[in-house]
């Protein structure tokens, strides 16, 4: 029997034509403007901001840094924490973050998601403001000038400049949580394709002892726009008049499109255009200072490095080019000519994408501040550039300047390589997830052997055919593959949706399918006809059944996650906008809501984002750090909604675990339909939760920083063996770059005694599978090379009963990128891959494709 558990048959599924959506926009939150009067002080440590990734299907992914607060490096970097589902159909063209209340944020404090307002525009004339908490659109405003081509917030975060189709810039006032039209600038011919705010000027204070009126400290000076008529224009921010026009190169009278502009604190303007030229301009004289023909095709995006000493451009030819400001002669001789003694040089270029690069973002963000107020960042931590485009993955690369290596050793926050400079470091491609909020869009029905996959508005179902015989081999951990066409497509459903689909589930027996967008959940009964075709029949009155149980105000019957009990008699859903957990009985003719839980709406058991109330039930040594001195308002009555995106039902159907993005995890007893307990929260929301199949009371919570916890639901505690295991995870496991996406347990063979097989869990990320045995105690990792292992091997005193020598951790990395892994049955594993080549094959051909052997 032990042999049987060591060998599994693998269905390597590449037929699932899930296409991730390409990236159209990236944004990091801005930093608040420094105070004019206060002494400059720069912090030693800067937290990493939340990266917003706008996609072509309208979704916006919010990616959070996985490292702890005081860690400056994290292997896993950013992971998707939440997805704001876009309206269907829609897209995101530009994103802008502003700080909600800038005066409440300290100068060196990084605003968290709750302090930010997020705006997006998507190819139309509407500007959207998002409610990040509820994942919904909060407000919209029409540009009144046609399609919005670009959005930029001023450094103070009080205005948004919209570049419109009709050639006007419109300023939207967003101060004090408003969203109103403020003014519009003079109209020019052509479109405004890009816009950037120049450095703000400190307001002259009339008296010295004036109170700090933070909002009024800085005044906006000017804006620069890139237009579609081969020119850049400089505008007075106060009057809205055009100050000057800068003409770019043209070819044969065709119009050059200035796709990207950026402004630096010293007044330098950078532009990138459709001829592949990156030009540097002097904003005072509006003359061209330098010009680089650094790209073969359109330059689509530009960013300025955090300290303003470097600029990066990228675009259709996929190159990311770095320009650095260098001093070419002694500046001490004549101070008046300092400007002419520095100039920009194209210093290096890298190609990290397989297709057009649409957007760039850098952390820490650059704020164009006058040189007197220049912001200082700790030089020993390399800035990180995020880039994204049509090849669907965000690529992050450390981008320290070589000059920072003069002072001290520079830390690479991504831990990709020892080097942290842009020239020498390695970049990293962040994995894409199949479903929103890093959930899985793929679900399986084990008994019916069905695989469902959810797309933006479609759901497809395939059937995995039974293998004639299961090969079993004695060799350890050998996974046999079966690439033969042992699958068939059963159904393809196109749904009428408001937003992109957010959740779906299929019951184990294959009889039920539930899909939901943000506003409406749809339950289908799947009827399998004689030819094996699946006929979905919609339960029409599902919405009307559950809507009485939900509040009227945010009218939504949609669910963020669904779970069927293993016997397919109950459906558990978490309501989308209200965070209720509904337990619905579907065993009878008509679905019936059994119980509604509001535990994910409660604020009372939460102190400063952490569960503390039920701590007495668990061991006291789970350390709770409450160093956050942010005093939340004491509005006890308003519920704190958490998006419940993770749910698990134990194999025997007794336990239900739900987890939300506030790191709260509740356990419910489905037999009694009672709330059972709440788990202490951890530093990260759980990426995946699952009950062990062999021991139904064991709940595994996997976190995106590649750690996991095991909780015994029955005894309401973390078993001591599990704590030892989880605290001593091998570094090879925790240091792997791709975060955990899921956990899978092998269902016990029906004829086998329940406890006989070894308890293990299969963890998987987008590029790896790893089996961790729970019985063996702490896993020892001896590094990657066997040779070193032999040298350092000593018969260690195993405090855990002193068993045999511990097993080495083994990772399977042959499948990539993995979208989904689960056990179809005992000894039968399904691995869903979606190779990037297949995804890119659907795209138009890229500008540059590397040819083998050509240099």
């Amino acid at each position: 029997m032990a042999d049987a558990t060591n060998s599994v048959a693998v269905h390597r599924c590449r037929f699932i034509d899930f296409d991730p959506s390409s990236i159209t926009s990236l944004a990091f939150p801005p930093l608040p403007l420094p105070s004019i009067k206060r002494q400059k002080h720069f912090s030693n440590h800067l937290n990493f901001g939340t990266l917003a990734v706008g996609r072509a299907n309208g979704n916006i992914d919010l990616c959070e840094w996985t490292g702890l607060k005081n860690e400056s490096r994290s292997k896993q970097a950013w992971v998707i924490r939440k997805t704001l589902p876009g309206l269907y159909p829609s897209k995101v063209d530009s994103l802008a973050y502003i700080i909600r209340e800038p005066h409440t944020i300290k100068e060196d404090q990084v605003p968290s998601v709750s302090d930010l307002r997020l705006f997006s525009s998507g190819g139309g004339s509407e500007l959207l403001e998002w409610d990040i908490e509820n994942s919904t659109v909060r407000r919209t405003i029409n540009s009144q000038g046609g399609t919005i081509w670009c959005v930029a917030a001023n450094p103070a975060g009080t205005f948004l400049a919209l570049g419109c189709e009709d050639g006007t810039i419109r300023l939207i006032s967003v101060a004090d949580d408003t969203l109103t039209h403020s003014k519009h600038f003079d109209r020019v011919k052509g479109r405004i394709l890009s816009v950037a705010w120049g450095p703000p000027v400190p307001k002259k204070a009339p008296g010295e002892d004036e109170e700090d009126e933070d909002e009024d400290e800085w005044l906006d000076s000017w804006l620069v726009t890139g237009c579609s008529d081969s020119s850049l224009r400089k505008w007075d921010a106060a009057t809205g008049r055009m100050l000057d026009r800068m003409g770019t190169d043209k070819i044969r009278g065709e119009r050059t499109l200035v796709w990207a502009v950026a402004a630096l604190g010293d007044g330098t303007i950078v532009s990138g255009d459709s001829l592949g030229m990156v030009k540097f301009w002097d904003s005072r004289t509006c003359t061209q200072v330098q010009s680089f023909k650094s790209h073969g095709a359109d330059v689509l995006c530009l960013i300025v490095g955090p300290d303003g000493l470097a600029t990066y451009s990228s675009g259709v030819d996929q190159k990311l080019v770095q320009y650095s400001r260098v001093k070419t002669s002694q500046s001490s001789e004549t101070n008046s000519e300092v400007r002419s003694k520095t100039r920009w040089m194209q210093t290096s270029s890298r190609r990290m994408h397989a297709h057009d690069v649409r957007s760039l973002a850098v952390w820490p963000p650059y704020t164009p501040l006058p040189p007197s107020h220049k912001r200082q960042f700790p030089s020993e931590i390399a800035p990180v550039i995020a880039s994204g485009g049509l090849d669907m993955s965000v690529v992050v690369t450390p981008a320290a300047l070589p000059s920072s290596t003069l002072l001290s050793k520079v830390i690479n926050p991504l831990a990709t390589s020892v080097h942290a400079t842009f020239d020498d470091s390695y970049h990293r491609r962040m994995a894409y997830s199949s479903g929103p909020s890093a959930t899985s869009a793929i679900h399986i029905a084990r008994q019916a052997r069905l695989v469902s996959c959810m797309r933006d508005s479609r759901v497809s179902i395939w059937r995995i055919l039974k293998k004639p015989s299961l090969l079993r081999e004695d060799e350890d951990e050998v996974l046999e593959e079966s690439d033969t066409a042992d699958w068939e497509k059963c159904a393809e459903m196109e749904l009428d949706v408001h937003t992109n689909l957010v959740a779906s589930a299929i019951s184990d027996d294959g009889a039920w399918l539930v899909v939901s967008d943000l506003y409406e959940a749809k339950l289908f009964r799947l009827i399998i006809d004689t030819e094996g075709r699946v006929k979905p029949r919609r339960i029409r009155d599902f919405s009307s059944i559950i809507s009485p149980h939900l509040p009227q105000k945010p009218t939504s019957t949609g669910g963020l996650s669904f779970a069927f009990t293993p016997d397919s008699t109950k459906l558990v859903m978490s309501a989308a906008l209200t965070s209720y957990i509904l337990v619905i009985d579907i065993s009878e003719e008509k679905p019936r809501v059994l119980r509604k839980f509001d535990h994910h709406r409660q604020r009372n058991n939460l102190s400063v984002d952490r569960v503390t109330k039920d701590l007495k039930t668990v061991n006291a040594d789970v350390e709770m750090d409450s160093d956050d001195d942010e005093d939340d308002s004491s509005e006890e009555d308003t519920p704190l909604l958490g998006s419940v995106t993770r749910m698990a039902v134990s194999a025997d159907g007794q336990w239900l675990a739900t987890s939300d993005d506030h790191c709260r995890t509740h356990i419910f007893n489905l037999d009694s339909i009672q709330h059972h307990c709440v788990l202490p929260s951890f530093s990260h929301p759980a990426q995946s939760i699952a009950f062990s199949s062999s021991d139904s009371s064991l709940l595994v919570l996997a976190f995106p920083n590649n750690t996991f916890q095991i909780y015994d639901v029955e005894t309401r505690q973390f078993p001591s063996w599990s704590r030892e295991l989880c605290d001593n995870l091998p570094t090879r496991f925790t240091q792997i770059h791709d975060p955990i996406i899921g956990v899978a347990f092998e269902p016990p063979a029906p004829d086998a005694p329940s406890q006989s097989s070894a308890r293990f869990a299969l963890f998987w990320g987008s590029t790896w599978l790893c089996k961790i045995n729970f019985d063996d105690g702490p896993i020892k990792s001896y590094g990657f090379s066997r040779k070193r292992r032999r040298e350092s091997f000593k018969p260690q005193k195993n405090n855990h009963e002193g068993l045999e020598e511990p097993k080495e951790l083994k990772m399977i990395t042959q499948y990539r990128p993995v979208l989904f892994v689960d056990y179809m049955g005992p000894g039968e594993l399904i691995v869903v891959e979606r190779p990037l080549v297949d995804v890119l094959a659907n795209l138009p051909p890229a500008y540059f494709r590397h040819k083998y052997g050509a240099s």
């Binding site: 330098q290 023909k293 650095s324 260098v326 001093k327 070419t328 002669s329 002694q330 500046s331 040089m345 194209q346 210093t347 290096s348 300047l401 070589p402 000059s403 290596t405 003069l406 002072l407 001290s408 050793k409 400079t421 020239d423 020498d424």
Partner: protein, 960 residues
């Protein structure tokens, strides 16, 4: 032996070789005569610190110290130096380092003007010069550094060595800057740690200041820092920064704050070369991977030193070169960067845009690049690895001139050494046929003019640089023979087999075109001996003058083939070569073949045997085999053909072919590698290799087994052929040595007379003037200027000429108005007329009928006593030319169409405009005193004039 003193090897640059005890002794034997010679070139203050070096490595071989040195001279220079040539300030000469000497070439002609040879060091060894810079304090001096650690300051105008400074550490690079008076910077190897790590070096700051007479003892040397083995050293144009490159690092020192030492910046690849931007504070490096990097690290804030921190800086990189960049240079305006390397392509980078232009197909890998600004505009001087200097015009990017000497340097040392080297003498034109820098071509070197006459590519081969690490072996010319008539040349070129393809051997027979003196391919025979090598190749002596020789080849397939010239009846005179016969003998491999002097017998060396064949009938006559010689390598007929000298490994057996008996035998203690018989008498010489790089030469006569004479040579020969310019009874031959020198060996050899091989002062030479249009027409002698004997006057005269020309160096808008210049300029060229004659170039000359009149006027007024041109003549000639050039327009003046005629009519009128030239000449000549009194050099201060004054002063300093 007495003759050997006239040409002492010390006059000829020899690559440094380990000094041996016998050499010293040989020198001592020669007495004081050459010492005087050495003094002659190196007088001045020769204060050598008498560092007693330990004696040379103990010799394991007995070196026959009684053997005299066989006289020899080398016709080739040492391999070209890696340091780029340096131009004089006016760009008219350049200094190139060759071995232990500085050669001064004229920029305009490429002619060798002078050679400044470093004297022998105390140990008697030649030391290679590694770097040369102009003395920034005195542009008429150069400073050189050498591997034996001596800094020498030369006055190149007087060709004297002014000063030597011995710092006793091998110097690799030196540089100087005018901001740093009396100081030079040098990279030296540190001897102390020689055994530990070979590449430990340091950068020194050496003061040239003469404090007092005893200052030589303790030089003022400040170490700046330690580096790895340096590849470059440069000072920024501002004089504030010193940069050295070594290994993977660039070492930057702030010269304003020397105490701080070097800041090291890391490059990803090993840096090969360095160049500073002429205006701005940044520098460029080229690395072994072909990347060119611009470093902007100079003005970064001075940093604290952190141990173990790899410092990087902002660099911009250019990449085109597939292989290492060997040299870099910025143009003088700083807008372009030149780079070159193994690809033999000069790349010109436009710095602000990164665009590049190419000068491809330069013939050999580029080793050095230097930039000069001459009267012709900017020019790039490329030093190629085959010792060619090529000038590229900066404006046209066309290879304008290239000057090469004997190129006998294997272009790539990565290839395996060749087994045999082609060498032949073409007696009719007294040229040598030598291998060239590429193994598939040969060059013709004329002994009399000591110039390369032509180059011939025997086998077309791809000269594009290697792509992979392991280069493909090119086809190699292995053998060359010339027929006795001098009309035919036979060459064997072969490509060695490897796993991909089998051996390819081609025999090519070339006909000499007598009109053009070029070799034309006549017959090509592919694989004359199948897939086997051709082992020997020889033309038979001609029995009758009208008859053409046979050609005989032996091959690895065991056959001896003869080839003859066949004339096709239809095509008349044109003949081609066909196989005549083929013989073989007992499966032996015929390794050598030689003809009896009358051409009747053929001696074939076959393993242990030597067989004699009748050349006409191929009848085997007899076989010689002797116990003394178990394995014969070669067999040569001696004298008139009675004796046959059979050479074995160490044995030599002399057979009498008449009596078929061994006359005598000789056993050498060392392997014999060559036997060269005298073509006239019955003496011959054998060469034995005593030690690597040293051979012993025995001269034998057929009469006795004791050598007539035993001599030694400080090299071994890869190939040697008999050559003597005049009939001689003693040994005289040419050969190619193991270290690729082309040498003339013999008792009575004499180097060809060549200009500039000795140190000559530059004053005596007037600058080569460019030929004018008038010179082309009337010959150069007409414009002969009488020479003044006073040398200082000569200098002045020359410098005024230069001063005049420098007027036009400045852009037109900066120049003074032309009419203010014209007088002084013309007076510089023209001679003052002795008497004021009222010769007026008539203004009425302008009409149609005045052509003859001018000539009439000119001739009687000036009957040239000594074919000299007078200014009047010039002016009249100018008028004539103007007139004729105008007259070309005249036919178009009278067209039938009236409308157009009006346009042209303006030109055709006898307008006053052409009259301006004579008029002005007249008006100027009316008051000549003003012109002469105006000091010529004042409006444009000439650097040369100023420099001379300075030089004088300094020279006095030095001599006092």
């Amino acid at each position: 032996m007495a003759a050997s003193t006239s040409h002492e090897p010390q006059d000829i640059p020899i690559p440094s070789s380990p000094p041996s005890a016998s050499e010293k002794i040989a020198k001592a034997n020669k007495g004081s005569k050459k010492k005087g010679k050495a003094k002659e070139t190196t007088d001045g203050q020769r204060k050598r610190s008498a560092v007693a070096k330990p004696p040379a490595t103990p010799n394991t071989h007995p070196l026959y110290e009684d053997d005299p040195l066989l006289n020899w001279i080398s016709l080739t220079d040492s391999p070209p130096s890696k340091s780029p040539p340096v131009f004089t300030q006016d760009g008219s000469y350049y200094f190139a380092l060759v071995g232990s000497s500085v050669k001064i070439f004229a920029t305009s002609t490429g002619q060798l003007v002078s050679t400044l040879s470093a004297p022998l060091s105390a140990t008697g060894a030649f030391s290679e010069l590694t770097s040369v810079v102009l003395n920034p304090q005195n542009v008429f001096q150069i400073v050189t550094g050498s591997l034996d650690g001596v800094i020498r300051i030369w006055d190149y105008l007087d060709a004297t060595l002014i000063r030597t400074l011995d710092i006793a550490q091998p110097i690799h690079h030196i540089c100087a800057h005018e901001k740093h008076q009396d100081v030079i910077f040098a990279t030296v190897s540190r001897q102390a740690s020689k055994q530990k790590s070979k590449d430990a070096s340091s950068v020194l700051r050496i003061s040239l200041k003469v404090t007092d007479a005893s200052a030589q003892r303790h030089l003022d040397i400040t170490p700046l820092g330690k580096t790895r083995f340096p590849t470059g050293l440069a000072i920024s144009p501002s004089g504030n920064w010193l940069v050295a490159t070594a290994g993977h690092k660039a070492y930057v020192a702030n010269l304003l704050n020397i105490k701080f030492g070097f800041t090291k910046y890391v490059s990803p690849d090993r840096i090969n070369c360095l160049s500073f931007h002429p205006i701005e504070d940044y520098f460029a490096t080229g690395d072994v991977k072909g990347n060119i990097r611009l470093w902007y690290c100079l003005n970064e804030p001075t940093t604290v030193k952190v141990a173990g921190l790899e410092k990087k800086t902002q660099t911009a990189s250019f990449h085109w070169h597939a292989h290492a960049v060997s040299s870099l240079a910025f143009t003088s305006n700083g807008a372009y960067l030149l780079s070159g390397g193994e690809e033999s392509v000069l790349v010109i980078w436009q710095l602000h845009s990164g665009r590049k232009e190419f000068v491809p197909r330069l013939g050999a890998p580029i080793q050095t690049i230097s930039v000069t600004k001459t009267l012709r505009g900017e020019e790039y001087l490329l030093g190629l690895t085959d010792a060619t200097f090529a000038f590229v015009n900066a404006s046209t990017l066309i290879l304008s001139r290239s000057y090469s000497r004997v190129k006998l340097f294997p272009s790539d040392n990565t290839l395996s050494p060749p087994k045999s080297v082609p060498l032949a003498v073409h007696p009719n034109s007294s040229t040598f046929i030598l291998p060239s820098s590429h193994s598939s071509s040969i060059q013709m070197f004329s002994f009399t003019t000591s110039k390369i006459v032509s180059e011939l590519e025997i086998s077309p081969s791809n000269r594009v640089s290697r792509r992979e690490e392991k280069p493909i072996e090119p086809p190699r010319v292995e053998r060359i023979v010339i027929s006795p008539s001098g009309d035919w040349m036979c060459s064997i070129d072969a490509r060695q087999p490897n796993e991909d393809f089998s051996r390819e051997v081609y025999m090519k027979i070339w006909y000499r075109d007598r009109k053009t003196s070029l070799w034309v391919l006549n017959t090509r025979i592919d694989n004359p001996h199948g897939v086997h090598e051709v082992l020997a190749l020889s033309f038979s002596p001609r029995p009758h003058s009208g008859q053409e020789s046979y050609l005989v080849t032996t091959g690895g397939d065991g056959t001896v083939k003869t080839w003859r010239l066949r004339f096709d009846r239809d095509k008349g005179r044109e003949g081609f070569w066909v196989a005549r016969s083929s013989v073989s003998f007992r499966n032996e491999i015929p390794s050598h073949v030689s003809w009896s002097p009358d051409g009747s017998l053929l001696a074939v060396t076959l393993g242990a045997y030597v067989s004699l064949y009748d050349a006409l009938t191929n009848i085997h006559r007899t076989t010689f085999i002797s116990p003394e010689c178990s394995c014969a390598y070669t067999a040569h007929f001696i004298g008139q053909g009675r004796f046959l000298a059979v050479q074995g490994k160490i044995e030599l057996v002399l057979w009498d072919t008449v009596s078929c008996s061994v006359r005598w035998s000789f056993t050498s203690p060392y392997p014999i590698y060559n036997v060269v018989p005298h073509p006239e008498n019955d003496t011959f010489a054998i060469f034995t290799s005593v030690a690597p790089g040293r051979s012993r030469v025995h001269t034998f006569s057929s009469s006795m087994s004791k050598p007539l004479k035993s001599t030694y040579l400080p090299f071994t020969l890869l190939n040697a052929v008999w050559y003597s310019s005049k009939p001689t009874s003693s040994l005289s031959l040419v050969g190619i040595t193991h270290d690729w020198r082309f040498v003339l060996v013999g008792d009575e050899v004499k180097a060809p007379e060549e200009e500039g091989t000795f140190a000559t002062g530059l004053q005596s030479r007037s600058l080569p003037q460019r030929r004018t249009l008038f010179q082309d027409i009337f010959g150069k002698s007409i414009f002969h200027q009488p020479k003044t004997d006073d040398s200082s006057a000569a200098i002045l005269q020359r410098t005024t000429g230069i001063a005049n020309k420098t007027v036009f160096d400045v852009p037109a808008y900066l120049a003074p108005p032309v009419d203010s210049l014209f007088d002084s300029l013309m007076m510089g060229f023209l001679k003052q007329r002795p008497a004021e004659q009222d010769y007026i170039p008539t203004e009425e000359v302008l009409g149609d009928e005045d052509v003859g009149m001018e000539v009439d006027n000119a001739e009687p007024t000036l009957p040239p006593p000594m074919a000299k041109i007078e200014p009047e003549e010039m002016t009249s000639l100018i008028a004539v030319f103007q007139k004729y050039s105008l007259q070309t327009y005249i036919p178009s003046k009278t067209p039938k169409m009236n409308g157009i005629a009006k346009v042209n009519g303006i030109h055709s009128k006898p307008s006053p405009s052409p009259a301006k030239v004579p008029q002005s000449t007249k008006s100027k000549s009316s008051r000549p005193t003003d012109v002469v009194s105006a000091p010529l050099s004042e409006p444009t201060p000439s650097s040369m004039v100023n420099g001379i004054g300075k030089k004088r002063k300094n020279a006095i300093d030095y001599f006092e």
